[in-house]
Symmetry: C2
DNA sequence: TGGAAGTTTTAGATTAAATCTAATCTGACA
DNA sequence: TGTCAGATTAGATTTAATCTAAAACTTCCA
């Protein structure tokens, strides 16, 4: 991954490029596995033990606020994160909680005014079901 | 609220109608405020202190599993719940976390097969922005 | 009616996720 | 070099939710 690109993207969000912040952003850009905050902290801390838990969480919060990283809340599980490279929808597996990317397409939505609300962002979709792996496991399980 | 209707709806989900379970379901059907689990427990426990925290949470879980209650995960906040009377979308306020109902409409989505996934449910939408109250507060704040 | 088997509930302990605290460090720039 | 806002830290704390093991109910059949 291009270090300059990461630095630039941090600065475009008004964030200074510190080693810890860089590590969090780089991890997210290099892995499209939608890790939880705990997984990000563990990976970053393993690579460089100077990064503490609070710092990993603080930086994650800052990156989300700056719009560089997207947070996906999943019912009954820890939140998951991904670098917001291109706009896309998500798929969440009911069994293993795995989050996968899905292609972006526009969804029609009511206008803000008609609802009495001031700001209204296009919602990203979260589809739900069983991922290929869990669907297979589930099928073999029901068969026996 | 019709007690018989609540009892029937519990039984339609394969759940026995115990006083505690009834209280949780009744609270959700009588209040469309999308309470958190903690708020539900407090309300139910206040009305009848025989219902413990674990019971409120257990029953909530059972109701969600039975498809009678919907859980809405919100980033950085406790999950919220509502009785699944009619299908609808949701709006979440970025500032106060308030959840509001929005009318249902179909959203086009890719078919399961094209994605290699076995089961794929229609996603309910979550719109995000500022609710009327917070939008007003925010505007008056920026003005000063 | 008795009582075995299953279900539900309970108080309190525990876990998990994330944030807070207050002290310390860093580095840009005067 | 000195200053100071911003960043980081370890560890404590908070919050949300679940677990545990015992007790209390229901059901239902003899």
């Amino acid at each position: 991954m291009d270090a300059k690109a990461i630095k630039k993207s941090l600065e475009s969000g008004g964030l200074r490029c510190t080693p810890q912040r860089y590590a969090v952003m780089a991890f997210l850009m290099e892995h499209d596995i939608h890790p939880t905050a705990a997984e990000i902290f563990e990976a970053v801390n393993r690579a460089d033990p100077r990064c503490s838990r609070a710092t990993a969480y603080n930086n994650l919060r800052d990156l989300v606020q700056a719009g560089l990283v997207r947070e996906v809340a999943v019912e009954g599980r820890a939140a998951r994160f991904d670098a917001k490279v291109m706009r896309h929808h998500h798929f969440v597996c009911d069994i293993c909680g795995r989050v996968e990317d899905m292609d972006w397409y526009d969804v029609p939505h009511p206008s803000a005014e008609s609802l009495g609300k001031r700001i209204l962002r296009q919602s990203e979709l979260i589809f739900r079901g069983l991922c290929a792996k869990c669907a297979q496991w589930y099928a073999s399980r029901s068969a026996s």
